[in-house]
Assembly symmetry: C2
Homo-oligomer: 465 residues x 2
């Protein structure tokens, strides 16, 4: 196939959006649009998603993936973490496939595009290759990774982590559901229950990849604000997740003076504020998404609070610095001392709280592979190129970016050349029912994904591996 033929390949926007919204029938979440609105065709997709990993609705989406890829002529297998791999044969099938993929699970109040776009665009890639009778030099694959969100089983990207050899399959299998709190399921019991505990070991050796390309919505506001169509993602920022436990003393809200309290929630509130101030100082991010307390009564000062802390920055040493300063500030605040002027105006107490840190997850800064970045940039430039190319500006159509969020590509990058493609999403909103990328943006991303994969296949063909 000539370079011109390659360049003329285009996905079918309507079919792509149909696949995306069809799969979103399984696990519909909260509505975000004006459900009473009289716009033709608008209201029906104005719901978010709540498709927790390995739930019954996730099983329905997996069934669709298996059925559709099989119908498109792929061989599909599932590994011990429930990862699904569909492979379309190439002219030579002695080497590993070039993969495109993402994940079909969502946040409990998530949207229709995070992950889902990446998988459905990869399926659309298969459809387009078939329609055009394209024979690639090497096999091309599509992958659906399990529990990327970490929302139900509290370790994000856990299944690509096992595949990469960074997490043991035993540890992953034993992860317990956190939603709802009464759910006692583990990854293993749920894989068995829904019939997706595959016999193939979960590893990069059992299921090798020549490369991994992932299309994803940006989940931030930059592309939209700068009016650019494609983000060429060079890497992912560094991040760490912690669980912080504050212990004080339950006491009566009416009868216990401020001087006699060890108020775990007031102290945790100061810590959350402190983490924000420390991160602000460093140009980093610090966020708390989970907070639980005991005993939970209006007239009892809580003696126990536990909260998550998510620290991110482009550089590993910035994350370390924020962690270190937060640790010091939290110890000071628990002891009733001041940090960052937060205690000014508070009543000193004769009682202290204690604070414990637990590190749950460490993801160092990731730098994607130059060959893959070049393929994405070439595909983007060919599709929608234009504008001046100067220094790091690749033209007004696109932008070289660092991802703020983690993705399965962080783990695949440890074992094979990897790159990601971002498309704009409205207002930068994600992890929210109102998450939205226009059909045109989805089409752009799918075309760049297709273009990057065929370009990478061509590169492999030229190199003979």
């Amino acid at each position: 196939m000539s370079q011109d033929d390659l360049a003329s390949l285009r996905v079918d926007k309507a079919r792509l959006m149909s696949d995306l919204h069809t799969t979103c029938e399984w696990g519909k979440g909260e509505s975000w649009g004006d459900v009473e609105a009289d716009h033709f065709h608008s209201g029906e997709t104005e719901t978010g998603m709540s498709r927790l990993s390995l739930s019954d609705t996730d099983r329905q989406a997996r069934d669709w993936f298996h059925r559709t890829a099989t119908e498109l002529g792929c061989k599909v297998h599932t590994d011990a973490m429930g990862n699904q791999f569909a492979v379309r044969p190439g002219l030579s099938n002695d080497a590993a496939p070039t993969y495109a993929g993402s994940h079909l699970d969502t946040q409990p109040t998530g949207g229709r595009y995070d992950g889902i776009l990446g998988v459905t665009a990869a399926i659309e890639m298969l459809r387009t290759l078939n329609d055009n009778w394209i024979e690639t030099a090497y096999p091309v694959g599509v992958v659906n990774w399990t529990n990327e969100e970490g929302a139900r089983f509290p370790m994000s990207m856990v299944a690509s982590g096992v595949w990469a050899g960074s997490i043991s399959v035993e540890r992953a299998h034993d992860l317990k559901s956190v939603i709802p709190s009464s759910d006692t399921a583990t990854i293993q019991t749920e894989l068995e229950r829904i019939g997706y505990l595959g016999e193939v070991p979960c590893s990069w050796e059992a299921t090798p990849m020549a490369a991994h390309f992932e299309l994803h919505i940006e989940q931030g506001p930059i592309l939209e604000a700068e009016n650019r169509r494609i983000g060429v993602v060079r890497g992912v920022q560094s991040y760490k997740w912690f669980t912080v436990t504050v212990r004080g003393r339950d006491s009566h809200t009416g009868a216990t003076s401020f001087q006699h309290r060890a108020d775990a929630l007031l102290t945790a509130s100061k810590m959350i504020l402190a983490s924000h101030k420390v991160a602000s100082k460093h140009g980093a991010l610090a966020s708390t998404g989970i907070l639980t307390l005991k005993p939970g009564s209006t007239n009892t000062v809580p003696g126990f609070v536990q909260f998550s802390l998510d620290v991110r920055a482009p550089q590993d040493d910035t994350v370390e610095a924020v962690e270190s300063e937060c640790r010091s500030a939290f110890i000071a605040l628990a002891a009733g001392e001041d940090a960052l002027q937060i205690n000014t105006g508070c009543t000193p107490s004769s009682r202290q709280c204690s604070v414990e840190w637990r590190t749950d997850f460490v993801s160092p800064a990731t730098h994607f592979h130059g060959d893959c970045i070049a393929c994405v940039q070439a595909a983007g430039s060919h599709l929608c190129g234009g504008g001046e190319v100067k220094d790091k500006d690749i033209g007004s159509w696109g932008k070289l970016m660092t991802s703020g969020a983690g993705h399965d590509s962080v783990y695949t990058n440890k074992r094979c050349p990897t790159c990601m493609i971002f498309v704009p999403c409205r207002d930068g909103v994600s992890h929210n029912p109102a998450e939205y990328s226009s059909p045109e943006a989805c089409e752009d991303g799918a075309n760049v994904l297709l273009g990057a994969v065929v370009r990478y296949d061509k590169l492999r063909s030229e190199r003979g591996r």
Copy 2:
């Protein structure tokens, strides 16, 4: 009976403590002592209580109350809120009884003394009157009020509130359990389930009281710190309960810059800190005991937070001032403006949160009745009197106090002369498994309760009503 005979009446400490710890077998909570300790008789009562109102264990305690009072010769009836009233006849039974009582329900992680001491001491009063063949001029009663804590059904003192006519029985019956959150029981369904939905209407007219005396642990540190045996409680501080709802926007923790966030939890943390600072300035109390958020995922900035706010001060206008300043501060903080220097060092955001207030409960400052206060003071002074009486100092044995916590006596005081008696509790701890008052303190309190009730009966007899 002569004044000397009255003065010689004493409760049986061992029997009182036996009743107290026997009833605490139903609904045992978390242990607080050294369970491995080799102290004779110590470990077995070193557990707290978790006897939520209208639970199965509460029913067991109610059964004990009914059985015991009946065996002591009382007529026992239950009203439509499950309040239990036991009446020991007097020489004349044409007038309402003089009551002593409190409550048998506890916090989810409560102690053995809050409420329970008041009821068991009132039962011990009946035993002592019987042992001494005392015939009072008018009937003497004991009352066990339902759901005083407001921990399971979120309205404290709700059943005395209905009795006083301040809360409608329909509203009270419809209150839904908040522990656990999946429990759909209401007060009415639970009263029916455990068999304590009485046929007598819940009202001060159907069950009149001549007076109400309530013995309670102080739940604060003052008596212990000043080495005084008895608190003569003149009234209860003013308080208000609110539910505050903060709405922001769910967004991804990694991909959403601080500038683009509407972080409901960060904002709520600032509000909790602000309420503490405002209350500190006014010498008042502000406390948050409940906080829930959505969606609850480590990598999602919460878009929804709801928390309780409990504001207390001795004067109504202080509570109003704290409320007013908190409202202003919360609006400013939600809008991203500063209040009380809390925003210093935070990253400004282009997005705002919204804030809503709901007032759940208003309890103005309460002033108990002079006759009842005089009876308590006389009984206390006679039992353990000593020290110089000067101005407001009633002698080193006791102290005139204002209660920090609300009690059923706040409502009875609306319909009959009322007073409370406090005894010291270790370290001021309450609403905590480690809550503790010594047997000697419990005995002191029970003797003063007994002394106050017989003195009040004598006063009635002298007045002929």
